[in-house]
Symmetry: C2
Subunit: 266 residues, 2 copies
């Protein structure tokens, strides 16, 4: 679903969206924070890097593209920090690259794919791949009426009951924050969000996709157990290669399932 | 300084920027999170609301514009959450509207103006108006080498020694986070950032302005004392009208000073 065309009424827009739900999905944008997460997918799908991506000139954001079966696939990454050389992780770069990608690529579907921390108390294990049923923030505490709800920013993901059933994927709520660790205040809100997985981008991607009314799904592979014994960053780095391979495998299964289907079939 | 034109080398870009620093400032974009903060300024400068702002259709972002002396003034706000009706405060909407404004308005100078919490231990009092010397985040904790520095994301503001001297403004470091309250973890990083004022947008505006190389200054008026006796949200709401009036007065003095000058005169 492309951003709203100028001059369309809300009713006409709804109509268009209902029609689009019955057309086969054509253009998919993957928003992936880390290039280490994106590259195995890029290799597997034989995508090529766009040397003139549809982004403002000079931005660090990266786009890989190509076709897979009948799908036009795009993998976008927020790229590297120009001074420090590390990936632009977190909510701000994810929201900016999602916004630019919606405007420049006009996807039918966004898939935010990446690694996440999991909570064993909610049934997560390292290597599990989850589809998020809802996303919310856990580090935007604004104790003023209504602003408190805005801060948490809970949004339902696009529902994909057939996809989940067919691929036997686990389903859980995703909670997003800009820190890799978890403070007691974060933990309190993660519990309030009833989250099984925790990442650093999902709810930001959802915020932007919601502004443009683009259906979005979230596929998160668990690299570390937040409520476990090992320190998150150590466990994360240790498991990243194997879990990224698992994520890539799940994502290709998702694409095989999506291919030829319309949104309402998912 | 507009975003880089296609095909320019780094050297040519530097040249252009050096030339621009010697031309009178023409287009100014104010990024203001709350409409309650923006409207007194909009009234004072007799700006009008743009009913076709240079943003993607359907976005909640708002632009007011007009001329003041020889300056083309724009005040942009991230607008309201379409479901909850409250202002889109915080880093994600601020970064999105800054990005869209740079592309759509091509300012010579960005001014992020708004209210902030102040630390009395660092010399701040309610009603003080600060110019930030640097900005950083206090809620992006990533305990992995180099990513830790990326998370804090310290950036120098555009330096304005003559402006600060002429208007006798206070100067201090600004620290940004998406929460209105302050957790012990936030406090630790705010102290590490040596911050005198704390807001919810500044470092996000700086991140985007830095990507596009647009000089940015930060004018923050203190509504509440974070290390004081009163709860932040209560003190904030109580002081908002009077402090916003003070902010508006300072901003017009800043515009009077800027008018007719080039960036290197500030």
């Amino acid at each position: 679903m492309a951003p709203r065309c100028d001059g369309l009424s809300d009713a006409a827009m709804k109509d268009l969206m209902a029609q689009a739900e019955k057309l086969p999905i054509s253009t998919v944008v993957f928003v992936v924070a880390l290039q280490a997460e994106a590259l195995p997918l890029v290799d597997k799908l034989e995508l090529i890097q766009d040397d003139k991506p549809p982004f403002p000139i000079g931005m660090p954001w990266i786009r890989f593209y190509g076709t897979y079966r009948d799908l036009f696939i795009n993998v976008v990454c927020p790229g590297k920090d120009s001074t420090l050389g590390v990936d632009n992780v977190g909510t701000i770069p994810a929201s900016l690259v999602t916004c630019a990608s919606i405007q420049g690529i006009r996807p039918d579907l966004i898939i935010n794919a990446g690694t996440a921390g999991g909570f064993k108390a909610k049934g997560a294990s390292v290597g599990d791949v989850f589809i998020a049923s809802s996303v919310a923030f856990h580090d935007r505490r604004i104790p003023v009426p209504v602003f408190d709800l805005y801060g948490v920013g809970t949004r339902k993901a696009f529902t994909t009951p057939n996809l989940v059933k067919e691929l036997s994927l686990k389903v859980g709520n995703l909670s997003t924050g800009d820190s890799m660790d978890m403070s007691p205040q974060d933990e309190e809100l993660i519990i309030a969000n009833d989250a099984t997985v925790k990442d650093m981008e999902g709810a930001a991607v959802a915020h932007v996709a919601d502004l443009f009314k683009v259906p979005t799904i979230f596929i998160k592979a668990v690299t570390d157990i937040v409520d476990g014994e090992k320190p998150t960053s150590e466990e994360y780095l240790q498991n990243l290669p194997a879990v990224t391979a698992k994520l890539t495998q799940s994502v290709s299964q998702v694409l095989d399932f999506i291919s030829g289907k319309c949104l309402s079939d998912l």
